[in-house]
Symmetry: C3
Subunit: 440 residues, 3 copies
């Protein structure tokens, strides 16, 4: 991680994670609702409830799962597993059970992480009905022959799936989608970190005048993005760029997973912004987080996934060790700053048309030409002017030009502002339209 001056916001982001940590979330149910209610105190949210049984694309919204209590007691009546101590102890979507079993039978319903024997794994069984407990491997191997009382007070009933949107309207109806998943119980990096970042990114954008509209979606993974896609299918043409936000609280270097289209504007911008930090970029693959839904061939949206740790590749992934200590205020804040920088570049990354494209425009008469005895900074800004004028045929974004000129985006951006100021540039507002038409 590169050094970050910790300001209040990193601490606030960590604080929000701390508040949300104990809640037992799942893909449906009151844990998610409680979470959304807390978020709603910080940013404007529209909350949607989609009834169990609703057909969404190839899927069906599942029944709502509620767990009130769960434990395993030994013959002496001691609780050796207690849901109240960690909500990871219960297999998610576990069926209810209350009976006495011998060790052999109990073992068939126990899940552990042998490679990390002190940690409780996080396991789910959304689409097959079974009951089960998760526990540390060390405790598992210490279990004696005994009669155990197993008790899970859960219900799986018709209800609804909850998700929420925060829409920040900009000058354009073109939208940027920021998706974060809300279905994990007491796991911090995956994904209270993503939730917290989205909340503070939304608050940041609300204080600004944006060109794009920004749509933050808080929803359970897989079924949540599928619900959202199904409900918004007719307006997906508005989604011009998107990012899935998760794993942003640990101290690893950044990872960017490209969209399926590989070289979209959001891909280019994230890769440009990350250039200043140690990071890695990986090509799209069809598993991971909800980018797999946005990038399914029927939608193929320009949505990448920007994380710190890499999906499935950090030791604490889906275990009790993904806790409040794993995520750091400084890391959260640096991640927020990266997302803010991506958006800053995206907002400014317009395409222009040189209004005096025949021969070089005379910069001198417009006060843009550096005089005899210029210093090197002036020379640099002048080269930026020349690069923009030469490249701006309406098809090249400022970032394209910066890369071709091997200059910083901001140097190109500032030069473009000066050229706009004297009428030598005009924004090509039809560039999306043209791109689309050229594909036909």
């Amino acid at each position: 991680m590169t050094e970050v001056k910790i300001s209040k916001v990193g601490e606030q982001m960590h604080e929000l994670i701390t508040i949300l940590y104990p809640i037992c979330r799942s893909i449906t149910g009151n844990g998610v609702r409680e979470t959304l209610d807390i978020i709603k105190k910080l940013i404007p949210l529209t909350i949607y409830e989609v009834p169990s049984g609703t057909k969404v694309l190839d899927w069906t919204v599942p029944k709502e799962w509620t767990v009130r209590d769960a434990y395993v007691k030994n013959a002496r009546g001691e609780k050796i597993i207690d849901f109240k101590k960690s909500n990871l102890h219960v297999l998610q979507y576990s069926a209810p059970v209350h009976k006495k079993v011998q060790l052999a039978e109990l073992r068939e319903h126990l899940y552990t992480a042998p490679d990390h024997p002190d940690w409780i794994p996080y396991r789910t069984s959304y689409y097959m009905e079974r009951w089960g407990f998760c526990m540390s491997h060390n405790q598992f191997i210490s279990l004696n022959e005994d009669e155990y009382e197993v008790f899970i007070d859960s219900t799986l009933e018709n209800g609804s799936l909850s998700y929420a949107e925060c829409l920040i309207r900009g000058e354009l109806t073109d939208e940027v989608l920021i998706f974060t998943h809300t279905c994990h119980p007491s796991l911090c990096n995956d994904n209270l970190s993503g939730i917290s970042l989205c909340v503070y990114l939304a608050r940041h954008l609300m204080q600004q005048k944006c060109r794009y509209s920004y749509r933050f979606v808080f929803a359970p993974t897989t079924i949540g993005s599928i619900v959202w896609l199904a409900k918004n299918e007719s307006s997906l043409h508005k989604t011009k760029h998107g990012l899935v936000c998760t794993l942003v609280g640990d101290t690893s270097n950044f990872t960017y997973k490209r969209s399926r289209q590989q070289n979209t504007e959001i891909d280019q911008i994230v890769e440009y912004v990350l250039q200043s930090k140690p990071h890695k970029v990986i090509d799209f693959f069809p598993f991971g987080y909800d980018e797999r839904q946005f990038c399914s061939p029927g939608f193929n949206l320009p949505v990448g996934c920007l994380t710190r740790a890499t999906y499935g590749k950090y030791p604490e992934y889906h275990t009790s060790a993904d806790d409040l200590k794993l995520v750091k205020a400084s890391a959260l804040q640096e991640s927020l700053e990266v997302f803010q920088e991506v958006i800053r570049v995206l907002e400014a990354n317009k395409k222009f048309i040189n209004q005096s494209p025949k021969g070089e425009a005379q910069l001198g008469k417009r006060g843009l030409y550096t005089d005899v005895g210029a210093n090197s900074q002036n020379v640099n800004s002048q080269l930026a002017l020349l690069w923009i004028l030469n490249a701006s045929d309406g098809s090249q974004s400022l970032l394209n030009i910066a890369r071709k000129a091997n200059m910083k985006f901001d140097d190109i951006k500032n030069a473009a502002d000066r050229l706009l100021g004297c009428g030598l540039l005009k924004e090509n507002k039809d560039s999306y339209l043209q791109t689309t038409l050229s594909k036909i």
Copy 2:
């Protein structure tokens, strides 16, 4: 050469070469007919005779050459060169001669291979009338001043050029062309090896139900492929893939020469199949074997050339050392297996359209989703499912997908079969049509 368990077929292939070895073949004449008659005992053949003088593209079918005997005797009446001992001794298409000559005159009609002084070179003079003998360089330099009797009992008369086809009909009228040349006399690698491989490959395919139709062509090089192209010009659109088969009996590593189009499906498949062996791939160049005719700009067919030794680059090339010892049963068999594997992949390399392309299809409800506690092999097969679904927009073949996913073709193929089984995929039978249309 990688290790191959020798079964009966390798021995059989070598045996066929042994039978065909003594026959004096040329681009026309009874040697070719005798050869085709032997092949016809092993596979169904349609034999064509094209009369001398027939105009074929830019060429004319030549007269038929017959040689009955030939020798050089010294003054003592000893045969120092005897056609009956090696049919390479006579310059192919040599004019008849019978006279006494001094050494100086004789020398002008002798051809040797100075770099390999023990070997008799193979030389031809198809299109210029002259007489000549080939001999070892060592014998050549030991010749004394003497009067020699030279005798070549040959005729060049109107007749016909013989070639044959073995067509194995598949489900489609789309064809795969396998071409092998039949015009060389006692040379084993070039090209009794190719003839033998084609015979046993045809026998292999006859035992199967194929998607494509396979057309094996046994014909003399250059004029033979030109005859075939001229006679089949109106149906060449059916030739979707092709390979020229020669130099497959020596123990060198494999060589693949790409088609002129460079990256056709057959090119991709041969390169994929050869990945598991030491080999080299070279770009198309307009000389070599009959691929130069198939890949002439007026036809530009997707035909590559798959060999072991590289054209013209092995020492025994076109000499008496290209004999029964140079070709090995094990090498022949391995070559056959490579051709069989190429065809196996080609047969299976379909393009599919995901029938549930919006969002990820729910694999769980179709029994395709691995449950909690899956082993790594299951995980791999599941990733294959996801890759196929994500990539199958009708334009990507299974091999394309395997390469993108960095997985084995068979893993992708098996996964595709499972998806087909539950209706999630449909073959894109119009993919050729679409490819053609997209070029217009």
Copy 3:
């Protein structure tokens, strides 16, 4: 620099530079006229005068500057700076002045090159009115407190800008543009070398029958090329290739700066010709010499810039050290030979259509096929025949084919001539038209 046998022409080129060296040129005025009059004695020139105030694209033709005398005297009446000794001493386009000033004021009007303290820099102030002198930095720091008399006898008045063209008509109306700038005073490499090369290149072409028409333009930099573009806008479609010619007299390795389109025919040819010498190739950038005007997005002509030293990167650039000693007869001659070779390849770099594209043409019956016992040079020329026939579908130039075949251009060219001779090739005269149409 590779070794060059110096013939008369290198010496003549240097002699012309010596004659033109003392003249005080600027972007307008009698210095340019005097220069063009001398050139006109060597090649046919059409001289154009464009009045001050004429609107040209985004620019206006400036007033004409005349300087008759200029000096700085110290209090003892000694001329410490004297225009008559070097015309670089006066800031170009300097306003007139005649007054007495103290050292502090004088210093504000003095320009030096501190990195090269013995050299006088060349400075201009075309578009802002000021007066000034240039001098060596060593002299500058030795100036004492004193009262100085500054005198510049200059005028800036309505007049005209002078430029000239030498058109050598070829078989086609398609033109090759060779542009060289004429506005620099006593500087040899930049750009008396370019002027001299153009003169002797034009003389060379006048002795030949050319396919293309060649238009040499002698004009001041920036405003001169802008004037030319403005006046010739309606006929720019005829400019099929172009080069800016400057910095061709020093002994550095060659530098080629590609056109904005990056891979046009002229780019390919220059890069091919330079392969035999140490050189560097750089991508287009929108500053440098007049290629920036020709390659502005509204014109985007296929014009590169072929130099020895790299623009702005040699120490003597724009100083009094860019003198008669910096440019060498041998270097000038080698540069001329490179330009001649570029044009020789360009003239011959046609596209052909194989008239017998189906199968290989029978070379033997046309006497093009090498017989038994061929030497390796014959083999090479035969491969050239095969490459051309295989590649000539009308879209590939001979240079494209040479690069694909990894052969010399001349080997391919000679083979093409043989194929033309026997009717196997036909020139594709519509290739430009087709290229244009395929872009629509």
